[in-house]
């Protein structure tokens, strides 16, 4: 056991991990120029345990490398065991200890962000109020019922097992208040509906002459993928009805109509969309303003003035580049605006990226800790260096 702990605490492991991360980061940078997008690079090199790396110029020869997750795990263990727990408790090492604690905090913040942080988008025109926003990645299936008074009642179908279904696979979704069951099948991460021609066959269902065509998953940012799937509604005593669901809501610019069918004498709608989340407060976009540097198309600034209602409290706030709004565990970033191709638009919309991340400020705190630790240690070393040099000169 001691030998294992010694190995985990050793400088050799530190060097192995640092060198491994260095090589991995270098390859992950170079491949972005040639073969891979940023998103793919993250998946292959940094969000993985192992990487099978082709050797350039040697066709078919691959080298196994430790992936980012494995190296980070080893670094955490090495840091914890060797850099904190087994570090000699001497006054001269206090700076190192503080630095290592800061790095551990930084890594913990990375882990918490990876596990818990959620990203979403909220778009609204000037004058619009909003309390809901769409998750950037997660999808949900929702059914609608048109009530007699014209209002729409929404039924969220629990579960997201449909994501990742392959051709021919299905999951059944139910809701106790709904008179039908829904089989969701043939999920496609990035899809577009196309008319089925007579000269070719497709492996997915064709609905009223249309099918979902599989496109290359959008690279770089996952949120631009337009996912699609099929839904078959099964109602007792009736033939199943199949429709295409396509998640193309892009508020505030576009809201897609649901697939509709009849069940239990009523009209129902079903829709695939980005998960809807709720802010713990309400906002209204009062004004959006932006400018280019004169005579250029280089943005000088873009900013939104909003009013916030939190319970009985009302406040106004400006959200701009580098100055997000942090409130009640939610961070609102100014991320986009529109319409961008209409210089005479009288009304603009603004788009906020919304992040929930309990570790949001941990990197800043860890940065202060690391800076203090390094300053203590290196100041000591500088002092020692000056003293040594003076002694050498005297000698």
């Amino acid at each position: 056991m001691k030998r294992i702990i010694d190995a985990l605490a050793s400088f050799k492991l530190t060097i192995f991990v640092l060198a491994g991360m260095f090589v991995l980061t270098w390859i992950g940078t170079i491949v972005q120029e040639t073969t891979m997008s940023l998103y793919e690079t993250q998946k292959v090199y940094f969000d993985s345990w192992f990487v099978i790396q082709p050797v350039p110029g040697l066709d078919g020869i691959n080298v196994p490398l430790p992936g980012g997750v494995l190296l980070m795990t080893l670094l955490s263990v090495n840091l914890l065991v060797g850099g904190i727990l087994r570090l000699r408790r001497q006054l001269s090492r206090i700076g190192i200890l503080i630095t290592h604690i800061g790095i551990a905090m930084l890594m913990a913040s990375g882990l918490v962000s990876l596990m818990v942080a959620e990203h979403g988008l909220l778009g609204a025109y000037e004058g619009d109020e909003a309390v809901e926003y769409a998750d950037a990645h997660h999808l949900e299936v929702v059914a609608f019922e048109v009530l007699d008074d014209g209002y729409v009642k929404e039924y969220l179908l629990p579960g997201d097992e449909f994501i990742g279904l392959r051709t021919g696979e299905k999951v059944t979704m139910r809701h106790p208040d709904l008179p039908f069951e829904l089989d969701v099948h043939d999920f496609i991460l990035n899809a577009s509906p196309r008319r089925k021609g007579p000269m070719f066959n497709v492996s997915v269902p064709v609905v009223e002459g249309y099918y979902l065509h599989q496109r290359e998953p959008a690279i770089g940012s996952r949120e631009v993928n337009l996912s699609g799937c099929y839904a078959t509604a099964r109602v007792d005593g009736k033939a199943p009805q199949t429709g295409i669901l396509w998640a193309t809501d892009n508020k505030p610019v576009r809201e897609t109509d649901p697939w509709t069918f009849e069940a239990d004498g009523k009209q129902w709608g079903v829709k695939l969309r980005k998960e809807v989340r709720e802010l713990p407060f309400k906002i209204r976009v009062d004004d959006f303003d932006m400018a280019f540097h004169p005579g250029t198309r280089r943005p000088e600034f873009f900013q939104s003035d909003i009013t916030i209602w939190d319970g009985d409290a009302e406040a106004t706030q400006r959200i701009e580049m580098n100055k997000p709004l942090r409130k009640s565990g939610h961070i609102l970033f100014q991320t986009n605006w529109g319409p961008q191709n209409d210089p005479h638009a009288t009304k603009h919309y603004t788009v906020f990226e919304i992040v929930t991340n309990p570790a949001d400020q941990w990197p800043a705190w860890s940065c202060y800790v690391i800076a203090i630790g390094l300053l203590i240690h290196f100041s000591r070393m500088l002092f020692r260096y000056v003293r040594t040099e003076q002694m050498v000169q005297k000698a």
Partner: protein, 661 residues
Amino acid sequence: MTTLLRIVLAATLVAVCGIAQDSGVRREAWPKAVLDELAVLPIQENGRVKPLDTVLQFAMYRIHHKRAMHLPDEPAFGVNAGKKLQPIDWGLDTMFFPGWADTFPAFTLEDTVVLETLGLNELAEQKRKRDRFSMMELAPGRAALRDKIEEYRGIEKKNRTRVQNQVLGLGSAYLEYLDFRDAFDFARARYEIPDDPKLRELFGDKKVLRTSDVLRNIEALIAVVGDPNPSEAVSGFIEQVDRGVRGAGNHLHWIPPKDPNTTEWLSVGELFQLAFEQQATAEQITAVERAEAFADSLTDPTAITAAAAEFRGYMQKMAEARGEYGKVEIEYAYYRFDSFYKALLAFLGGFFVLCVSWLLPKSKWLPRGVVALTLAGNLLVGAGIVWRCIVRDRPPVLEIYDTIPFIAFFVVTVALVIEWINRRRVALAVAAPAGWIMMMLLMKFELVERRDNMDPPLAVLDTNFWLATHVTTVTLGYGAGILAGLIGAVFLLGKLVGFKKGDRPFYNGLTRMVYGTICFGVLLSTVGTILGGIWANDSWGRFWGWDPKENGALMVVLWYLMILHARLGGMIKNFGVNIMAIGSAVVVAFSWWHVNELGKGLHSYGRTEGVLTALYWFYGTSGTIAVLGMVAWVRERLAGKAEKAAPADEQLEVKEEPAPG
């Protein structure tokens, strides 16, 4: 091409240009006062108001690929023959003596194959592979150039050949040149009033109008032009005016707008377009008049200086009224003083004195001279950095250009401090050449980048707090890697050539310097990189995105940490630390420059011609030094083993051998 032919061609082009009267050939040199006045004419370009001198300087980089234009000593060049034209001289010649300036060899082609592509084979044969050409010489190929530009623009950037890129570059330079050449056509233009009752009613007995007259009477003219069936005479008149102001197009924005809330300045072409919707202000019309008066004064040496002063003075007043003139003269003074170039000379002088001091090791004054010159060079670099901060109201590092003087200042300062502490004359020996090389790199980069490096930043960079913290610390972290690499090179090359052989304290001292510098680097790079993550978290909502520039910064931190931990763990000793220090310079170069060349990511500055080649040279040189260092290490180890294996009396003899030097 003969002189006569040049003149004939110039005259032909003037005739083709139409009513804008060419001022012919300049008979006397531009008076210094005129150059001084017009150099600070405020111009709005790329989002800021700057001196005309700055606009012309970068235009010359793009068109001529040089800081100044040398004209052959030929009669056709008149007062310019055999002279080196500064951007302001060349610019004023181009704008006010266009026909003559068209004969200047303003365009630089890196490869005359471009000419063959344009069907100018005969011209290509007469010239060297890399040569300069005048507008006159290139004019016959303009139709082919237009076609080629259209064709090559359709090709994806990464698939274009070198020649195709050069053709596109020539196309841009050609258009930019035309923009300057025609920018003041309106000031020379005279519009003959035809014999038309409506026009006579409007202008009375006047025979000729100037652009300012047309602007002043634009409303009445619109009524005449508004006639659905204008007479032939009126149509001809309108055509004259159109030709007169067309050249001003939308280039050279020197007229402030009417509305104080509008930010975009106007060219004369734009002023005309707007004047059809809303009458130009009296100030704007007076500005045009001042330009005309200056154009009129070109043939009158007694009036030219006053006309230039009036023109510039009036434009200064207009800009001041909007609060946009404040930095124009400071910027002009910055470029005029050229502190980075003076720093280069000081560092070069320091390096020269350093070399002499090696030849005369007993001299006490020579090392002091090196210190004085290096210090002077560094103060000049510091002055340049501060000057730029004042002009932009920004912290020192905003563009990749800014990183070079900033790193130079840091490297030289730290080297001088180390020298002050240990007085080994090693850090001093590194300081002057490092400063000199970095200033050379700065000059070269400005020339190849060919764009104004003080233009305002994107919205995301509009934060002085993060620019002052993250950007400066990361950049200083780079500087530490460069300095460590330089001292490491001194160690390895010293060992290789047997300099101070057997002087262990000397080499231990060098390793301590490298190690200390790396410690500095760890502090700055780690804190700087994390600060960058915090900035990204505030801008984009994520701390880390594996963007190439972020990766580069991380690689620098990882490399520094490897050196420290390998040394602490006893895996490397003196040689290892110094060889890895060379590696730190390589990793810094990768992060500093190479990742920008990848053209990917949120931090991409775009590719710059020639940077990759320079980088590969740097990697090769550093690699060679590292390999030579390893050879020295192997040699020393073998010698050490032999020493141990030798009998005791032999060992004694070896120990008694005096160390060279």
